[in-house]
């Protein structure tokens, strides 16, 4: 088996198969060297093989890419419209007209405290429980 890198002339010779001694079944089914991506083969625009490949590639691009684009467009048309996300309306924070440390708020707090101390249901100093009659 040949291991050396074939040059373009050799490849052209192989493409134009003049070998009469070898049957097709004996030849390898796939010759990677015939691939346009064969790394050891330099691209030769004059090579008819590459020209053929180029033509095929062009046809593919010209035909299939628009088809794919049209398919994508049609899919977009057919697809459901995305449901609108429910935007939770958070109430805007209440802007206090008067801040917490304002003297009026402090006064309000102290007045409320004084009111709590003045609760009439609280009995701070009840009348002492005393025995009235201490006769003998």
């Amino acid at each position: 088996m040949k291991t050396t890198t074939p040059n373009n002339q050799e490849l052209e010779d192989e493409l134009v198969d003049t070998n009469q001694t070898e049957f097709a079944e004996n030849k390898p089914a796939y010759d990677p060297r015939k691939s346009a991506y064969w790394p050891f083969v330099g691209y030769d625009p004059a090579n008819p093989y590459f020209q053929e490949r180029q033509k095929r590639t062009k046809y593919v691009i010209i035909f299939f890419v628009p088809v794919i684009l049209v398919m994508i467009y049609l899919m977009a048309l057919v697809a459901d419209e995305p449901t609108e996300k429910k935007v939770e309306l958070k109430p805007s924070p209440t802007v206090q007209a008067i801040p917490a440390q304002h003297p009026l708020r402090v006064e309000l707090k102290e007045t409320r405290q004084q009111l709590n101390e003045a609760d009439p249901t609280k009995q701070d100093l009840p009348f002492p429980p005393l025995k009235a009659d201490m006769g003998i």
């Binding site: 007209a97 006064e107 100093l125 009235a132 003998i136």
Partner: protein, 259 residues
């Protein structure tokens, strides 16, 4: 020059010493409360001892048992008087410092308290000097007869103090309302200004109702001569409505501050 500074220094030292030595009104009241609690605990012990001694005498009918019973009775009656004197001293201290009392009411209450304290002190002296069972019985009977009036006086003063406390808070609330009204006079928008005006109109109605209720309770309390525990509770419930009215007023004021 040195004399001048020395005099100034002496004045500062004297003043500072007085500030430390003389009890401040709040401190005096705290110490009086501690005294009251101590006396009340001691009286309870003496009352139990009196009960035991009396039962023993009734069972044994001996002179020794009688002597013990008389001693226990005397001690219990003395400590009972001490408890009441301190109780009214505490009420006197509160009446002297409580805001919301008119000068007339304060003078009347202080006068009643002085009379009560003097009467109890005289009772105590009489018990101390009592020599026998008969004299003790005299003071026992006089105390038993005077106790309803003593209680009534105590309840009346309690109610007057409650009314005064609510009056003081209401006055403070009204002052706060006026301050808020002045401060919020320049509203940021016509809408807020209109809202605040409506709020203050509502507050005015609430103030009128609360004032009327407080005045009614005060008139009834002043007109009543005899107070018991149940009548005092009834007036306290009425004052509860005044308390609720003032609480509502403070809530309104707070809402205006949040506008």
């Amino acid at each position: 020059m040195i004399r001048r500074y020395a005099a100034l220094l002496a004045l500062i030292v004297t003043f500072g010493t007085l500030m430390v030595v003389l009890p401040q009104p709040a401190q005096a009241q705290t110490s009086l409360r501690d005294t009251y609690r101590t006396q009340l605990d001691s009286y309870r012990t003496r009352e139990r001892a009196y009960t035991i001694a009396r039962e023993q005498y009734l069972q044994l009918q001996t002179l020794k048992a009688l002597e013990d019973a008389v001693a226990a009775t005397r001690q219990a009656m003395i400590e009972r008087a001490d408890v009441l004197i301190t109780y009214f001293e505490l009420q006197k201290a509160e009446v002297e410092t409580q805001a919301g009392l008119s000068a007339e009411d304060r003078a009347r209450l202080l006068n009643d308290l002085e009379l009560m304290i003097d009467a109890l002190s005289a009772h105590r002296e009489g018990v101390v000097e009592a020599q026998d069972r008969a004299e003790l019985e005299f003071w026992n009977v006089s105390f038993t007869q005077a106790l309803p009036a003593v209680e009534s006086s105590a309840y009346e003063i309690q109610l007057s103090l409650k009314i005064a406390r609510l009056r003081a808070v209401l006055d403070r609330t009204l002052f706060l309302r006026d301050e808020v009204q002045t401060y919020t006079a320049t509203a940021s928008s016509d809408l807020k200004l209109a809202q605040r005006e409506r709020a203050f109109d509502e507050i005015a109605i609430s103030v009128a109702n609360t004032e009327t209720l407080l005045a009614e309770v005060k008139t009834e309390v002043n007109a009543n001569d005899a107070f018991t525990k149940s009548t005092a509770s009834g007036y306290s419930r009425d004052l509860g409505q005044v308390y609720a009215g003032i609480s509502q007023l403070l809530g309104f004021v707070e809402e205006i501050l949040d506008l």
